[in-house]
């Protein structure tokens, strides 16, 4: 379990993390979302025990990260941003070093080393210096290091940043495969990743926690949630007819691709009504779609609220 209470980090006048409290239970994959510089990494660094909080507290597996740092660090596997590693070492000796510091011995040590090199497909590069490896392999070495001691808590700072689509897919599959009995916290600014791996998402901006919900709940906050979109040869002719339907709040036509979107009044299902309308008028269309909501739109809406902009302005002045 990870628990934070009013976790705060200040650098002089700048508040990087502002009284963040949350709790993560085993089985959850928590995604930290936020613009660059929002305080995601700083929060993770405090939970991993690298930075000391200015005030507030964080505990991992019941151990306070400040009062019982060694016990807390034992149950965490941490991938720092950019997956740093000792460049002159080979993955084999690097993982051996981590195993030593993690207190792995004998048969168990060998078994764990075999397990992670197999799982992250490191066999081919085991004896090459880490400096000479591709970005994808470096990231995998970093992940191998983090999961080596099979920790109950994994903190991964941007685990897929800079990877190609295939590598991203592999890393996400790996995270999902470990999710069942672990607590996993990942930070990302790739919104599709939230859908792909997270069971819960936390949005952080300007150091403050602005939303804490499942990805579906976040999508439901989008004005696109429950909207119906379609492509039709003459969208402008259709616009007024759809707008008059009960339950439809407004209809917009994208000026670029001409795609028409009908937005519902709060909570009202309009898909059937729209489909019925099209059929009864015998209107030709393609790609009729019920929108789930757009995370990017919710993300923008939450992280750029005017109030926050004002606070940020104040903080800077």
């Amino acid at each position: 379990m990870i628990e934070t209470h009013a976790l705060t980090k200040r650098y002089g006048a700048l508040t990087a993390v502002d009284a963040i409290s949350f709790r993560v239970e085993p089985g959850q994959v928590l995604g930290f979302l936020g613009p660059n510089g929002a305080g995601k990494s700083t929060t993770m660094k405090m939970i991993a025990g690298f930075l000391a909080p200015t005030s507030g507290s964080a505990s991992v597996c019941g151990f306070d990260v400040e009062r019982q740092p060694i016990e807390a660090k034992r149950c965490v596997g941490y991938l720092p941003e950019g997956a740093p590693g000792y460049g002159e070492m080979s993955p084999r000796s690097f993982l051996g070093f981590i195993a030593d510091l993690r207190g792995l011995k004998g048969e168990q040590r060998r078994a764990r080393l075999d397990e992670v090199t197999g799982r992250l497909q490191l066999e081919a590069v085991l004896d090459k210096p880490i400096d000479t490896l591709s970005k994808g392999f470096k990231r995998r070495v970093g992940l191998a290091q983090a999961i080596l001691h099979d920790p109950p808590v994994l903190i991964l700072d941007e685990p897929t940043d800079g990877l190609d689509p295939n590598q991203k897919h592999e890393v996400r599959a790996l995270i999902r495969s470990m999710a069942r009995d672990k607590i996993i916290v990942i930070s990302t600014h790739i919104l599709e990743e939230v859908h792909a791996v997270c069971t819960r998402a936390v949005i952080i901006a300007n150091g403050r926690l602005l939303a804490d919900a499942t990805p579906e709940e976040l999508e439901a906050r989008s004005r696109y949630h429950g909207a119906v979109s379609l492509t039709t040869p003459n969208p402008l002719a259709l616009k007024d007819g759809l707008a008059a339907l009960p339950g439809v709040a407004s209809v917009e036509v994208d000026p670029q691709d001409g795609r028409l979107t009908a937005f519902p009044k709060a909570g009202e299902p309009i898909f059937v009504a729209v489909a019925e309308h099209l059929r009864s008028r015998d209107i030709g269309f393609s790609e009729l779609q019920l929108e789930r909501g757009r995370l990017d739109e919710v993300f923008r809406q939450i992280t750029t609220r005017p109030a926050d902009a004002a606070v940020a302005q104040e903080g800077r002045a």
Partner: protein
């Protein structure tokens, strides 16, 4: 006995020590350093020190140049200790492993010290030479080696601390050379006159006691005074403590 050895091998300090020492030899840097050290140590004792001309069977001309050799070579070893960890970001990895700050600081320091110790040990042909040519007091020579190693350790601890203060290795190098130079010559007119003019006589007297050269030359003449040994060990302890404090303070940037 084997359990004791196993327990040591599994200790975090030992793990950091092994990794660090192996990393020196993973690059040509180690060999370049050792060759330069051996060539200069030899050249200084034979040409500047008048090893043969003195006609005495001792290693005094050899040890006399060690402070000046270390002044440039030890900061070169020390500059990467923490600056590189910070630059490459591995410091974040190291300090989030289940290891205390002092274990990390000590493990890295001991590895660098052992590396310099290896270089120093490779000067053994000098020892053999004086024993072949004459009949030296080997006790004095052992004392000289101990004093030399201790002084290298003190330089190294200073370098470790200053290397933790910056992520730029060149800055770390220059700061370390300057600090070591001042401490080396504390007690000599060059430093003392400046200090006396600025801070007064009392401070100047206190600083004179910190002179590396005074303590080192006492040991290398064969006088193994506990106070001189303690001086170097306390200096190492103080700077390593400062190193841990600096790392803690500068972690965030």
């Amino acid at each position: 006995m084997s359990t004791l050895a196993e327990r040591f091998a599994g200790h975090p300090v030992a793990a950091v020590f092994r990794r660090e020492l192996a990393s020196y030899f993973a690059t040509p840097l180690a060999y370049v350093f050792i060759v330069i050290f051996l060539v200069l140590a030899g050249a200084f004792s034979f040409y500047l020190g008048g090893f043969y001309e003195r006609g005495q069977a001792d290693l005094l001309p050899f040890f006399n140049f060690h402070p000046w050799l270390y002044l440039f070579l030890v900061p070169a070893v020390a500059m990467r200790l923490w600056a590189e960890e910070r630059k490459s970001g591995t410091i974040e990895l190291l300090l989030t492993l289940p290891i205390t700050m002092w274990q990390a600081v000590l493990g890295k320091f001991l590895a660098a010290w052992a590396f310099i110790g290896i270089a120093l040990a490779l000067t053994f042909p000098m020892w053999i030479t004086v024993n072949y040519l004459g009949d030296p007091d080997n006790g004095v020579i052992v004392a000289g080696y101990i004093g030399s190693l201790l002084m290298a350790g003190a330089f190294l601890a200073i370098g470790a601390c200053l290397s933790a203060a910056t992520r730029n290795q060149v800055v770390a190098f220059i700061l370390t050379v300057a600090t070591c130079f001042v401490l080396l010559l504390a007690g000599y007119p060059l430093v003392m006159d400046a200090v006396r003019a600025v801070a007064g006589d009392g401070v100047a007297q206190a600083i004179a006691q910190l002179s590396f050269l005074t303590h080192f030359s006492a040991i290398s003449r064969g006088v193994l005074d506990l106070r001189d040994l303690l001086f170097f060990l306390l200096t190492i302890g103080f700077w390593l403590y400062a190193c841990a404090v600096v790392i803690d303070l500068k972690k965030a940037d």
